[in-house]
């Protein structure tokens, strides 16, 4: 995926082996789903070397979840790219963070966060025994700079935008849509899997995306347009209080 992964644990039980287990999992996911790797399963699928019957179980699951996400988002989430190949990275990142955080939870770890490329799952409290304080990146700045702070204790937060690796999100209903009205779309949800896939879809909807999130219970959104104006869902402010 070419994205940095950060794991932070604030439980006494944390051991180096735990971190290794989580990072091993991400390496496994990367090896399977990276469209940048010549020997990944997804690359083989795109070269038509593997038929659907021979997909691995995780690949089958990811394709199934993608199909479900496409339905939920009225077609705005689609892993089929304009050039006809499959790129499930809009779903795999959130999915793998979600699974990684369950590796930790299953070991009894309560206070941690897992981040991959700006998408984050938090659990419990930080080292000051407070809610985790997560900043939303200024999309106009190359450097790390925060334009909004939110306080989370058991949520996923994901931000979509086309300012990472060039355009990698498309409007499946209009391939010519440059999606430049909105520069950043952040979604907070009950877990990172949901937040990530809905952030991707909401971003693809352009400025209508905020209404899509507004209409979903348990999800809040913060959308920044190219003029630097942010629009938030009605319940968003509950996360801006410590």
């Amino acid at each position: 995926m070419g994205t940095p992964v950060i794991v932070e644990i604030h439980d006494d039980e944390s051991k180096p082996e735990l971190f290794e287990e989580v990072f091993d999992y991400f390496r496994y996911v990367d090896q399977k789903f990276s469209t940048y790797k010549d020997d990944s399963e997804i690359t083989a699928i795109n070269k038509k070397e593997i038929t659907e019957n021979n997909f691995s179980d995780d690949m089958k699951l990811v394709f199934k979840l993608s199909e479900e996400t496409k339905k939920i988002t009225n077609g705005y989430f689609d892993i089929l790219t304009p050039n006809g190949s499959y790129d499930p990275s809009g779903l795999v990142k959130g999915w793998s963070i979600f699974n990684a955080s369950h590796i930790l939870k299953n070991k009894g770890i309560k206070n941690f966060y897992v981040e991959a490329g700006g998408d984050i799952q938090v659990s419990g409290k930080n080292n000051k025994n407070e809610k985790w304080c997560i900043g939303i990146q200024n999309p106009f700045n190359k450097k790390r700079e925060v334009v909004k702070k939110v306080y989370l204790d058991d949520n996923g937060i994901a931000t979509s935008g086309n300012y990472v690796r060039g355009q990698h999100i498309y409007n499946p209903k209009n391939k010519n849509d440059k999606l430049d009205e909105i520069v950043s779309f952040t979604v907070i949800g009950p877990n990172i899997f949901e937040a990530d896939r809905l952030a991707t879809a909401a971003y693809a909807m352009g400025k209508e995306g905020i209404f899509f999130i507004e209409n979903l219970s348990d999800f809040e959104g913060y959308m920044i347009d190219k003029k630097g104006i942010a629009t938030m869902t009605t319940g968003f402010n509950k996360y801006t209080i410590i």
Partner: protein, 184 residues
């Protein structure tokens, strides 16, 4: 006479309504513009353990979730015609080029490109929109009921940052103008 007309109108109106429901039924398109007291739609969450997940129908909502999942949504994303990006096309002359200062409404975005060996060696921000802490309720026609604010730089005392790295439409625009000067 007036009364009769009125009641026949009402009956007709009701009949037409029934007909409307019959014909359109649940295939009526869903409009995304929120109404003030409309209950939110609960999304069908997958099972906690994703390995065994199956989409399950939601029972925590007063609205038919299936309707929102399968029906067309009235959104008309406007195609935006933007000149193709000039990045990675052709060779560039070595040197330092400053892009136009692009108005991002509450501030300006301007970048400087350093070209070395015919390639982009670095892109620096000379200016970008920052700190203005006005919080306003704007544009009620386009964004009913939702609060907007101009983004402003906060202190970076956070545990983690959600987002990605750089760029924006203004960034691209300023970069394009810088690179057009660098074209050989």
């Amino acid at each position: 006479m007036k009364k009769v007309i009125l009641s026949s109108f009402l009956i007709f109106g009701f009949g037409a309504y029934i007909l409307h429901i019959r014909i359109l039924g649940t295939t009526a398109p869903v409009v995304l513009t929120p109404e003030p007291n409309k209950p939110k739609v609960a999304l069908s969450l997958p099972e906690y353990n994703l390995i065994t997940t199956e989409p399950k129908p939601s029972n925590t909502t007063t609205q038919n979730t299936t309707t929102t999942q399968t029906n067309p949504v009235i959104i008309n994303p406007k195609p935006v015609i933007v000149p193709p990006p000039v990045i990675n096309t052709g060779k560039y002359k070595n040197g330092t080029y400053t892009g136009d200062s692009i108005d991002a409404s509450y501030g300006y975005v301007q970048v400087k490109v350093i070209v070395s060996g015919g390639k982009i060696a670095d892109v620096q921000f000379l200016s970008y929109p920052d700190s203005r802490s006005t919080s306003v309720r704007i544009n009620s026609r386009a964004m009913p009921y939702l609060i907007s604010e101009a983004i402003s730089t906060q202190d970076s005392n956070v545990d983690a940052v959600s987002g990605a790295s750089f760029t924006s439409a203004a960034f691209n625009e300023s970069l394009s103008s810088a690179l057009s000067q660098a074209r050989t």
